[in-house]
């Protein structure tokens, strides 16, 4: 079972910025234990562009599709046998990243 694991940051109350070494060590463990599929940190939401080509012509707009205080700061994709395993890892990940984590299954 694959899960999208989103790291959620808060613009008005951001998590600490010194987490990278701990996250790298956690990633090593995810790989060693067979959970790791993909991981990536994301640039600021200001760097996002939304494209809407459902109408006559494509419309480009600057910024994320939704403006909010909370935003996606990075993602993992994990392979885990069930939600209990994923939630246990996510509980650790939240501490390690000093941020909230959302776990959502792929179809």
């Amino acid at each position: 079972m694959r899960y999208l694991v989103s790291v959620i940051d808060d613009k008005s109350n951001p998590g600490s910025t010194d987490r990278q070494p701990a996250i790298s060590a956690f990633n090593e463990r995810l790989i060693a234990e067979g959970y790791w599929v993909f991981a990536g940190g994301l640039a600021d939401t200001d760097a996002a562009t939304v494209i809407d080509n459902r109408g006559e012509e494509a419309v480009f707009s600057d910024g994320p599709f939704v403006e909010s205080k909370e935003y996606l700061a990075g993602v993992w994709v994990w392979e885990a046998p069930d939600l209990d395993v994923a939630l246990k890892l996510a509980t650790e990940a939240s501490k390690i990243c000093d941020r909230k984590i959302e776990v959502r299954p792929f179809l």
């Binding site: 046998p81 069930d82 939600l83 209990d84």
Partner: protein, 413 residues
């Protein structure tokens, strides 16, 4: 066998076998939806057949076999989605959870899945009442005063999440067990409390069907996890609370406070059973097991149910137990209840000061104002007491409690 006997047999089978049938089918087919529907169909078949054919010698086995057949029929009917179905099966382990001393692992699996922390609390309650207790959708909707369609959607969404997110059908590992059991107990306590102090202007003040259901489920968990102290504690707490139910609401629908209750009307059998459980936990505590929140609350209720009247109550014992509870559960509500014991030992003045300190956190809670009103009344501060009663009446949601508070206010001079 006449129709009444058959009806009784079906009711009894429903109480005793529903969870077992749903649990074993969920395990076999890996799908809560199929298990629930097939179990319901098996009971409907029993209603049709038992009056003519007679009650089978082993109703549980008959129901499980019949439900299995219904489930297989449904899967065959939908064989096009068979592959998809197999992929969506719940994951489960085959090892019996011997470490926790379980006698019936399928029902335990079912309970832990329904009370999974990834589900919202109200969803856990609804799912447990449907899947484990076997209440119908209209019954659950009525119990929580929501529309039947909304309740149906809540349960459907929960089943879909369990499947999509792969919430496992499994008894948690030993290290996770205490936290998960406490999650299950929270669900049962919520059901019990909603029955014991029902909210809403249109409802009966005490909803016996909910308190009875909560006790039945807690007995089941107790049978499945006999070593767990908090399970025993919660069961004792429920029994000792339920025992006072006959004396708790007057003939004209008014709440009767502890000091005015007819203690002769309390249920002696429930009290005896509750006291036995509390003694069992006291022995365990003496042997070094640290008691949890429910065990301490049960012990407090054991002190109350051992006393002939308010004056005979061992208030220093009650206070010592609250001191222990405050260390585990430093919530303002615990502090408020502790203050009531303080009033009996050190007088209303000392208690009022303690209650006053809780104001910032409890200003919106009716029991805070009701407690203050009572203490102010005992201090002869009528005007302030009246104002506190007014506020308590405004905030109270239970009809019997509102009636009680109104009378107490109107008796002030």
């Amino acid at each position: 066998m006449n129709d009444v006997d058959v009806r009784d047999a079906i009711t009894r089978a429903h109480h005793e076998e529903w969870a077992r049938v749903v649990a074993s089918l969920t395990r076999r087919f890996g799908d809560l939806d199929i298990a629930e529907e097939a179990a319901a169909e098996a009971f409907a078949t029993a209603v049709q057949r038992w009056p003519a054919d007679g009650v089978p010698p082993n109703p549980g086995a008959w129901l499980t076999t019949t439900a299995n057949r219904h489930a297989i029929d449904r899967i065959r009917r939908e064989n096009k989605r068979d592959d998809k179905h197999r992929k969506a099966q719940m994951s489960y382990d085959d090892d019996p959870p011997e470490a926790v001393g379980a006698v019936d692992d399928d029902r335990l699996r079912l309970i832990f899945t329904c009370c999974h922390p990834a589900l919202a609390m109200e969803t856990r309650v609804a799912l447990t009442l449907r899947m484990v207790a076997g209440l119908t959708m209209p019954e659950i909707a009525r119990a929580f005063l929501v529309a039947e369609s909304a309740m149906g959607q809540r349960i459907t969404r929960a089943k879909a999440k369990i499947k999509a997110a792969r919430i496992p059908y499994r008894v948690p590992s030993a290290e996770d067990l205490p936290a998960r059991v406490s999650g299950v107990l929270a669900v049962l306590y919520l059901v019990f409390n909603e029955g014991y102090l029902a909210t809403g202007p249109g409802t009966d003040p005490v909803r016996h069907e909910l308190t009875a259901e909560a006790i039945r489920l807690t007995r089941l968990i107790r049978a499945l996890l006999p070593q767990d102290g908090e399970v025993a504690g919660l069961l004792a707490l429920m029994l000792l609370t339920e025992a006072r139910r006959p004396a708790r609401v007057s003939a004209d629908g008014e709440l009767v406070a502890l000091d005015e209750q007819d203690r002769g009307a309390w249920d002696a059998a429930l009290i005896a059973e509750g006291h036995r459980l509390v003694r069992e936990r006291l022995a365990a505590a003496a042997a070094g097991a640290a008691p949890g929140r429910y065990q301490i609350l049960a012990a407090i209720n054991a002190v109350h149910t051992s006393a002939r009247d308010m004056r005979d109550t061992d208030w220093s014992q009650v206070l010592a137990l609250y001191d222990q509870l405050v260390r585990l559960d430093p919530s303002p509500i615990t502090a408020l209840n502790r203050a009531i014991a303080v009033a009996e030992l050190d007088g209303p003045e000392v208690a009022l000061a303690a209650v006053g300190r809780l104001e910032p956190r409890l200003a919106g809670y009716h029991a805070y104002h009701a407690t203050r009103a009572d203490l102010l009344r005992r201090l002869g501060r009528g005007r302030e007491s009246r104002a506190a009663y007014d506020r308590a009446i405004e905030l109270a949601g239970n009809t019997a409690e509102t009636a009680y508070l109104t009378r107490r206010r109107d008796q002030l001079r």
